[in-house]
């Protein structure tokens, strides 16, 4: 942090301290806005004095080390042009514009929340650091588990109202309230944060209950809620705000009258007066003036729309698209109208694999599970389904750098080893249909369920290969909601699913491996498994893992604030989990592939290390001139040089 910024911030603090008020209530600032729930809100703040703390700016600790991420390289390309319209597809019309509450967690939400709105500070896509967004600077006091924030005084909502500390105080009220009907939010905002302290209109601090190495991201990732907008927040929240578009920090807004054609299309428009339009890290992003989303339900139709040029870009990650439907020698690719790009990224990988329910008969035996591991031919899946473009996953916590185990690899497909393992559990003889059976005549047969229709063929391959080892897998393809419900109720034998993982410093273990998430009273006092244990549903412990040793390590890991210790624990837990053999690691996707019309432009290096999709950071732009040129060239049969590119600078 430079001296200059310190001076400026100090000056600003001084200014705001003069005109801002240090009164403890919501009342003073919201009164002027004519609110009618200020009493309820300030009453809530008063009723929770340990959570909502009001101080004066003089109380701000003096020796804080303020940071502002100014040393980081800028995101986006200087050659980006503003303007143009981008055409995209929506598989389904969103069920609501609310960003919280029932039905809000849909595939459109990133376009009005995750990808576009501003947190306090954001992760740069190439480094494990922060660049400023709504915050001008921040200071981390690891010992007191507190992060101090100075807001950008110019920051405004899309309706022109300034963004102040009130919006962050209110954020906690909002997410903790029952009006929003969102228990996960109630829990997260109620337990993962322990205190917010207001110093003045633009200065506050947030305290978390545990001192974790990544506690900064917990706080800096927060996004405010417009206090002045939700003045009538009440029991009718779900209906009242179903189709309203609240003031946002995003550069893209929409007019619900004009831009929302229910069931058909949505248009997002770039706010030309967006306060951050000239701000570093934002000025070369969010370039297109309009983004038009059209509902196209069918995948085949979506692809045809792309081929017609009605849609600008198409995700070619699935092999059949990359190799067959849009091959390198396709006329449109050959004449340079459509460009193809492979981009290798780095990201904690979604955990695609077989989750074995160890609470089921036979599957509770380790040798059976080891047999299943050796009978699952993922290498063939990768070779024949993914054409060798994907890689075998090693453990369930790949992609966390030094937190991932350096040596352990998934067990290989090996019929002999599988049969040896099954024989240990008493399955020696093969029946008339070639499936192993034990002495009592019980067949070695399990159901493999999944909610991924598009990956159905993967299970077909696994099934055919497993039969070679004498193991029968019955495939059950469900729709995604039903599939998820099934594993959440722990009714599966073996389930094929992946957890999406956010960009985090270290893997989480508690959710998936702690016995607390498997059973009520999992153990007897003497430490052995309780025979009368009751299954706990709606948790992510899909393997029903209950190992005292694992619990002990997870607790230590959660309580630890030393990176070294956590690393060691993470390795040991990964090892224990591997030995337990209850998860068959599947595949990892090392990057993404894209086809796009040549008027879609990307920065020189295409994209960033930690991106999951090419459009996530909005660094691309639409060049309308090139668009006209391309259509004219097509009419006259003129071609350009073909462009098929691979960006492997971040390949692992």
């Amino acid at each position: 942090m430079t001296k200059k910024t310190v001076l400026i911030s100090l000056a600003l603090i001084g200014l705001t301290a003069l005109n801002g008020c240090s009164g403890p209530k919501d009342k003073q600032e919201s009164n002027s806005l004519g609110t009618n729930n200020f009493e309820e809100v300030s009453g809530y703040y008063e009723a929770h004095p340990e959570f909502f703390v009001f101080r004066d700016i003089e109380d701000l600790p003096a020796n804080l080390k303020w940071e502002d991420g100014s040393h980081l390289a800028e995101i986006g390309s200087e050659s980006a042009k503003k303007g143009g319209t981008e055409y995209r597809r929506l598989q389904d019309f969103p069920r609501t514009l609310r960003i919280v509450g029932p039905d809000s967690n849909g595939s459109f939400r990133p376009m009005i929340l995750d990808y576009v709105t501003m947190p306090l500070a954001a992760r740069p896509p190439d480094e494990f650091d922060f660049y400023p967004a709504l915050a001008r600077s921040w200071a981390i006091d690891q010992n007191n588990k507190t992060v101090y924030i100075k807001l950008e005084p110019e920051a405004k909502w899309s309706d022109g109202q300034p963004i102040t500390t009130q919006d962050f105080l209110f954020m906690f009220f909002f997410y903790q309230s029952n009006y929003i009907v969102a228990p996960w939010y109630n829990n997260w905002y109620g337990t993962q944060y322990s205190k917010i302290t207001r110093y003045d209109q633009h200065t506050f601090s947030i305290t978390v209950p545990e001192n974790k190495p990544d506690m900064d991201s917990r706080v800096l990732g927060l996004r405010p809620v417009p206090r002045h907008y939700y003045v009538e927040l009440g029991d009718d929240f779900i209906d009242r705000y179903q189709w309203k578009f609240p003031p946002t920090t995003s550069p893209y807004t929409l007019d619900t009258e004009k831009d929302l054609k229910k069931g058909r299309s949505i248009t997002l428009r770039r706010d030309k007066n967006w306060w951050a339009k000239d701000k570093k890290n934002y000025r070369y992003r969010f370039n297109t003036d309009k983004i038009q989303f059209t509902v196209i339900r069918d995948n085949a139709k979506h692809f045809e729309a792309f081929r017609r040029g009605d849609i600008d870009q198409f995700d070619l990650t699935l092999s059949q698209y990359w190799y067959e439907k849009l091959p390198d020698d396709d006329p449109d690719v050959n004449s340079g109208y459509i460009q193809k790009t492979v981009f290798f990224n780095q990201h904690p990988r979604p955990t695609y694999g077989l989750w074995i329910n160890t609470n089921k008969d036979l599957l509770d035996q380790k040798s059976i599970r080891v047999g299943i591991q050796h009978a699952s031919n993922w290498d063939l899946v990768i070779e024949s389904f993914f054409r060798g473009d994907y890689k075998r996953m090693k453990t369930s916590s790949d992609g966390y750098g030094e937190f991932s185990h350096p040596i352990i690899k998934a067990r290989e497909f090996n019929i002999e080893k599988a049969q040896t393992a099954f024989a240990e559990a008493g399955f020696v003889e093969r029946g008339d249909d070639g499936i192993l059976k034990n002495l009592e005549g019980k067949r070695l047969s399990f159901t493999v369920s999944t909610g991924y229709e598009r990956f159905q063929d993967i299970l077909t391959i696994l099934k055919e290969e497993a039969e070679k080892a004498g193991l029968e897998l019955i495939i059950e393809v469900l729709d995604s909601t039903t599939g998820w419900k099934k594993v959440q109720e722990k009714k599966h034998d073996i389930h094929f699913v992946a957890f999406n993982v956010g960009l985090e410093m270290y893997p989480r273990f508690w959710e998936t491996y702690h016995s607390d998430n498997a059973y009520y009273q999992p153990f007897l006092p003497n430490g052995t498994l309780n025979p009368n244990r009751k299954i706990k549903t709606q948790t992510n412990n899909l393997e029903m893992l209950a190992i005292p040793e694992m619990d002990r390590m997870i607790n230590a890991y959660r309580a630890s604030s030393s990176k070294e210790e956590m690393k060691k624990l993470a390795h040991n837990m990964t090892k224990l989990h591997h030995e337990h053999a209850s998860f068959v690691p599947g595949f990892v996707q090392p990057g993404y592939r894209l086809g796009y019309w040549r008027w879609v432009r990307y920065p020189e290096h295409f994209n960033y290390k930690y991106t999951r999709s090419s459009t996530q950071l909005f660094v691309h732009w639409i060049d309308e001139k090139i668009k006209t040129e391309t259509w004219e060239a097509r009419d006259k049969n003129k071609s350009f040089s073909p462009k098929i590119e691979t960006y492997d600078q971040f390949a692992e």
Binding site: N299, A300, S319, Q320, Y323, E324, K325, L380, E383, S384, F385, R387, I415, Q419, R430, D432, D433, G434, T447, S449, E453, Q456, D457, T460, I461, E464, E467, K468, A469, G470, I474, I475, E476, V477, L478, D479, T482
Partner: protein, 355 residues
């Protein structure tokens, strides 16, 4: 019960006279009987293996691990490879493969990559392969079998239910008729396709395939029998008031006897003309349901599922949609011809004109 009376014989003669319909009927019967030996036509197991002087019939016997034929693996023998091996060795061992040497479920990926392969005589994929490298001809054969038998079972059940209830309504009349009519009015207003989709989506897909097909049949029948009752009811009403029914009643015949011996044979001729069209509509329905993904559970071979795949890869693999569409057109055309012929030969006008 259904004695060949001169009237019926005349109708059959007339039916035989309509060549287009008659030959379609013969072809359909031929197809139906062929479907019962699908396993001998399209299969990955060999019809006959002669190994070291012993004869094996793998299709209708337990599985043979590779070790049975001197191979080094303990799982199911790959007979196509075995055939090649026997040929290379040139010994006394030989085996005969069926016409189509692939079963409808196996993925026969070329170069280990799943993708549609164009029809090829040399590889034995006469109609090519689908998106997961399964033989299309094999899937069509088994898919047609399921569609045909499903349609027949559906038609039989719908008619059985419709005739019994319709007859009872017409024959007993009164309050029974009144109540049942209202019930049918309500019941038939439930949209059939939606109900099938809703009901079928709550059936756990862990059930064995045969159970799921049975359940689908049950649900479809449940919502399709009502239309038959209307015809049956009016026919029964009409026949009931005829003199021969009164005569039978006076002679002390029971209700059951009157319905089945006297009324039914006379009322049936109208219904028979509808049968082929019911078969058509049920084939269309099951195909449509499969196309939408609510029909037969995967990986059951089905025409609708092939059509869906085909429309998804129109550009890259046109042979999928051509095969499935062609089969459907041929099947439905044949049945329509039969239906037209039946309708014509059963046309009462031919017999009521006084000469």
């Amino acid at each position: 019960m259904f004695n060949m009376n001169p009237e019926t014989q005349k109708k059959i003669r007339r039916f035989k006279g309509i060549k287009r319909g008659y030959y379609s009927f013969v072809i359909l019967i031929g197809l139906l009987s062929l479907t019962s030996i699908c396993e001998l036509i399209a299969n990955s197991r060999a019809l006959l293996v002669s190994y070291q002087g012993t004869l094996y019939f793998p299709i209708y016997s337990a599985f043979h691990p590779g070790t049975d034929f001197g191979l080094d693996y303990p799982y199911e023998t790959n007979y196509r490879e075995l055939k090649q091996k026997f040929l290379n060795e040139g010994g006394d061992n030989w085996l005969v493969m069926p016409l189509v040497q692939y079963n409808p479920y196996e993925n026969n990926a070329q170069n280990n990559v799943f993708r549609p392969a164009a029809p090829s005589l040399s590889k034995g994929h006469y109609l090519g392969t689908d998106t997961t490298s399964r033989d299309i001809l094999s899937r069509l054969i088994y898919g047609t079998r399921i569609a045909l038998w499903f349609a027949l079972a559906f038609t039989l059940s719908v008619y059985a239910l419709g005739i019994v209830i319709g007859c009872a309504m017409g024959y007993f009349g009164g309050l029974f008729d009144l109540i049942f009519q209202r019930f049918i009015e309500i019941w038939s207003n439930i949209p059939f396709l939606y109900m099938v989709i809703i009901v079928f989506s709550v059936i756990p897909s862990g059930f064995p395939t045969s159970t799921r097909i049975g359940l689908l049949l049950f649900v479809m029948v449940l919502f399709s029998w009502t239309s038959i009752t209307y015809y049956m009811r009016t026919e029964t009403y009409r026949e009931k008031s005829r003199d021969y029914v009164s005569a039978a009643r006076i002679m002390g015949a029971s209700n059951l006897r009157i319905i089945f011996r006297h009324i039914l044979p006379n009322a049936l001729s109208t219904l028979i003309t509808f049968v082929p069209f019911t078969v058509i509509s049920s084939i269309t329905a099951i195909t449509a349901l499969d196309f939408l993904g609510f029909g037969l559970p995967p990986p059951t071979p089905s025409l609708g599922e092939l059509l869906k795949q085909g429309t998804g890869s129109l550009r890259t693999a046109p042979w999928i949609v051509i095969s499935a569409f062609g089969t459907l057109v041929i099947l439905l055309t044949l049945i329509t011809f039969v239906g037209e012929a039946i309708r014509e030969s059963f046309d009462p006008k031919k017999f009521t004109i006084y000469k």
